[in-house]
Symmetry: C2
Subunit: 447 residues, 2 copies
């Protein structure tokens, strides 16, 4: 019997996930628009036999370019360039269901899946925030539940589009002059609340059928959506107990929705700050903290918590009278995680900013390679994770250290593949998921 193995995803972000990473001597402040930087990261991750790499995204410029590298290349486009620079690794792009049309977006992912020979993944987001809404003709962001209702219809339409060509719709009969079989091409003819989409996709069915579907919202709406559609879930969890509860809940929801619990993989995020000794790891962490500009952190925290500017005291606790999650229309689960973290660990605003600066609410862990591998192993073996979303504080060095020093330990322990191998070629295969059947084709056993 094959032993269950970890799924590792490299979450790439400019010069690293720590907000001050760009200020280190090694960092290139122009890295975020430099293809060579991303090619280097992708190849390091592939050397570490990661399942996939991943880019977050939002269609807006965040508040201030003064604080840290702002803006980002569009992920599907960037990952297409990386597809040609790599051979095996999966390519997961974030794209919004609120600010795209299903026909265009389904087509782009189908294109990436063809060009990468089946390595495309879509991190489905509904995009919080008024800044994004105002770039697309709206004055304010749609309500949270409304965004998720649109996302569900978006997915239904996208699935119809990806299935609009049966796998054998191309006949290619040169002698008869017949290229395709129109009877095997199925226009969606969709008319719904948010979308009307009449015609078939103009791309044949792709190697994976459709991209791996990924989701990362942990609000009630988000978990309901994930249980129905997601094949991999990225999540921010601070303790193994919380992670276990989240894991069990999500698997149970998927089963309740009629799905196989193994067909939804749960990957908590971890920001590993690695040193050859514990002291060195702590020192590395301190160097990053010393580069934080706290005024920026206060500013961001006040926005996340919907507080007026100037409310927070850097050396005091969070205010006691914060509103409940249900009153928040933006990033609900992030809001609750941050408030609970501050209260559980009795952090001052300054300390909270230090913790968030490193991982924005994800588990930050400073330690030796063995300690990082132990933590990963513990979570993996105790029902808290199917794998991890690796979020290096500094890039490329943090990813390089992880691949050179933690990956060999995970391999020795039998927790991670030693090579990609030929039997798993697509991203979905690497995640242990079946290629989805086409909704227009009756399974042979049922005919």
């Amino acid at each position: 019997m094959t032993r269950r193995q970890l799924h590792l995803n490299a979450f790439l972000m400019n010069t690293g996930h720590h907000e001050a990473s760009w200020r280190l001597p090694e960092s290139d402040p122009y890295a975020h628009v430099d293809l060579a930087h991303y090619v280097r990261l992708a190849r390091i991750a592939e050397r570490g036999t990661f399942d996939s790499l991943f880019l977050a995204d939002g269609p807006q410029l965040w508040s201030s370019a003064g604080q840290r590298p702002a803006g980002a290349l569009e992920p599907i486009t960037l990952l297409t360039a990386l597809a040609t620079a790599t051979e095996h690794i999966g390519l997961i792009a974030t794209a919004s269901t609120s600010y795209n049309s299903p026909y265009n977006l389904a087509r782009k992912f189908a294109t990436l899946d063809h060009l990468s020979a089946g390595r495309a993944g879509w991190n489905i987001v509904t995009t919080a925030g008024a800044e994004a809404a105002r770039n697309f003709g709206l004055d304010a962001e749609p309500a949270h539940a409304e965004r998720y209702a649109r996302a569900a219809e978006f997915l239904d339409v996208a699935l119809k589009l990806w299935d609009s060509w049966e796998d054998d719709a191309i006949v290619a009969d040169k002698a008869a002059g017949v290229w395709g079989d129109d009877a095997k091409i199925h226009p969606p003819r969709h008319r719904g609340r948010f979308f009307s989409v009449e015609g078939a996709l103009n791309v044949p069915r792709t190697p994976q059928g459709y991209p791996l579907l990924v989701q990362a919202g942990s609000s009630e709406d988000g978990k309901r959506f994930a249980a129905r559609y997601a094949e991999a879930v990225f999540t921010a969890q601070q303790t193994v107990e919380d992670a276990r509860a989240f894991y069990a809940d999500l698997k149970a929801r998927a089963v309740a929705a009629g799905r196989d619990a193994d067909h939804i993989k749960v990957l908590p995020g971890i920001v590993p700050v690695i040193g050859s000794t514990e002291a060195e790891a702590r020192a590395n962490e301190r160097v990053l903290e010393d580069h934080i500009v706290h005024a920026h952190g206060v500013d961001r925290l006040e926005r996340l918590l919907h507080l007026d500017p100037g409310t927070l005291d850097l050396d005091g606790p969070l205010p006691a009278d914060l509103p409940p999650e249900s009153a928040i229309e933006g990033a609900k689960s992030r809001y609750t995680l941050v408030v609970e973290l501050a209260r559980r660990e009795r952090l001052t605003v300054r300390q909270l900013i230090g913790r968030l600066g490193g991982g924005r609410g994800h588990l930050t862990f400073a330690g030796t390679p063995d300690q990082v591998a132990d933590t990963i192993g513990l979570w993996f073996e105790s029902g808290a994770a199917d794998g991890f979303n690796i979020m290096p504080a500094v890039l490329p060095s943090g990813l390089e250290t992880f691949v050179d020093h933690v990956v060999p330990i995970l391999r020795t322990r039998g927790l991670l593949r030693t090579e990609y191998g030929d039997h798993h070629r697509t991203l979905r295969e690497r995640y242990g998921l079946p290629r989805p059947a086409n909704q227009h084709v009756i399974a042979p056993a049922l005919v």
Copy 2:
């Protein structure tokens, strides 16, 4: 003084521009979703020191997959993959102003321009046809004039977005902890008839400032639009006299709009069918014609001419009582060109289908390499063209023959560069166009 030289664009299309090309023994019927096919074409064009390559597009599946390869990879995505497989050649993607939002599309082109180090071009189309409209929530296509009004506002917004970062907005002061200068980032705050776009693009200004702007509609609306925005124009012209008139008219319109006549390059399309002798070229042409399925051609022609199915007689002329161009809401200039071609040359429907099967209204020319070079030289020297849109009937062989046999003649005659050279790096530079100033920066001489 440097001699004026040709601009050559390779118009790539599946297995070739001839509708029957996919039926030839050499053709791969799955080529249109095969990255290797396009990489091969791009490298052939780069060996021929072409300025650029180009992909047409429409966000819909055309009528029937029975007739010929249907569907296409999304062009921006495909060209991004080709950017990494080439070094010099420009990459022009078609995208619709009717079925995209300015923020997303401006961002994708900015991303491609960064990733390709300044080789991105945008062929701006308004997208005719109800099929496309019905994939985006509309029941019918918007009126021609309405589509062009939206296109003009789309361009204004896109230009604001591409200029929203000044070139020196990134400060990268690590010591002070200041990455960007917010005073040099300018949100468009656009509120117009078709679009509201508040925020700055989340991509810094690109190597070219913005992609080369290309246009191909030759209707009255199309020419007005081209005179205002286009830096290169693709056009279908059947005779050198028509091409000369079109060329003079477009340059005059550009000058009237306050632009330099040299900053709008006119490239007629040509479908060269090449043989080592005239007889061989004709034979090559005949092989293609013999593979046409005429029923398909009748069907397409009836749709183009807005006739009921079954109206046309394969061996008779076009009906005498066709409506004028002004009554057509679709592809106006294509309609007129086809009707005039049939009448001028007194073609039967069968003959017309043969002519259109090769180039869809573009100049089809069967001859020896010298004859092809002569025609190109004649049009180029007599005020009919600044270069050509090369549309091989069969791909890759037609492009290979052109590069191996016509390109050397053009070089010997001093009409085409022999190498790319280091002084022209971006697509806009190759087309002899200046890098546009940022609209937020006052020219130094005026300060």
